[in-house]
Symmetry: none
Subunit: 219 residues, 2 copies
Amino acid sequence: MRLVVAECTVTYEGRLTSRLGRAKRLLMIKADGCVAIHADGGAYKPLNWMNAPNILIEDDTSWKVSNQKGEVIVIDLHSVESDTTVDLGIDPGLQKDGVESHLQELLAEQPNVIEEGLQLIRREYPTEIGPVDLLCRDAAGNTVAVEIKRRGEIDGVEQLTRYLQFLNGQPDLAPVRGVFAAQLIKPQAKVLAGSREIDCVEVDYDVLCGAERPQQILF
Amino acid sequence: MRLVVAECTVTYEGRLTSRLGRAKRLLMIKADGCVAIHADGGAYKPLNWMNAPNILIEDDTSWKVSNQKGEVIVIDLHSVESDTTVDLGIDPGLQKDGVESHLQELLAEQPNVIEEGLQLIRREYPTEIGPVDLLCRDAAGNTVAVEIKRRGEIDGVEQLTRYLQFLNGQPDLAPVRGVFAAQLIKPQAKVLAGSREIDCVEVDYDVLCGAERPQQILF
DNA sequence: AGGTGTATGTCGCAT
DNA sequence: ATGCGACGTACACCT
């Protein structure tokens, strides 16, 4: 990784056009070739950037970074305060826990956690308007579409509503009812779901992890 | 801005849980207090971060960054290779030249590009649930709500649907039909729009710019 | 390569 | 604060 602190002006032309007036900034060039221009604020997001793959052409007073899509950043350097390079090596990578896909896996294994007697028909059931997280059959033999979110908000209810609309247009599946499952469901989402006769279920992620094989725990 | 290069391990607990195994990384602390942990790849996004406002507690071997929402990053430092601070001053900021609003302006001037005989009633027509991009009257005298997007996706159709629902509840306007206009409309959005009897129109931004005053070009 | 859904999305603006 | 819409969204995953 190369870190340059310099007075510079920057222009970007691509998905939009932008300009940065003259100021001292940090230029970060990573081993993968991506370039980021950081100010001393504005959270972790750089002011401008160009992700790999790109081409960096460097001359005495300016850098030109361009990619295949026709995006270009031009960095004019007025004065360079420092220019250092560190070898960080390859990172072992970030281990994430608790994302939606994991929650979906756990609930696919344990649909009865969502509702007594629920059985999985298919995970990621494909439709023209996108995949339904879980398609299930309930104790009474009716089809149930389950939408899973980490945090249940209005968007998720809208999404599930679309699926239900679509699925109920399929004579071999209808009638299909909906269940909205999330670790936490916001009040507004609950209200909206309620008004559409969609059940809401809040699931405890830790309990779900612990209860992954309840038989083995019980005996 | 403070830049530290160090061997470290990191854990984050908050919206999810994550771990970073021991490796050399760049720790960036900006003047606003935000902290970012960068590896030498993965575009401009840090592996972990904590935006301001937060509290950084530093001792000999570890840093603890936490915020009011209960998110916590713990950085264990095994060895520090460098620790430098630069004063970048306040950035003059990024000047953006947007495309979205411009598209709306152009279509407001040229509603007939959307549909033959369409006339503008009002741009940014206010409703309780947000402004309708363009409210128009068609050749037959019916009211038309136009939603404009750079890229037309399902969200945009949902948004327009909400507006139509609202507008059709106004006796002086109803019936109102919808037109979804974008530079590019995704297949799923087209399907959803079709099922709701919303017309889709793809507009060419460059042609629109060129056709801004068609009379002057024709004569 | 293109399409779709997720994200610790972030960011800004209005209520 | 919360809701809502835009973003150069980025990114993984699938066809």
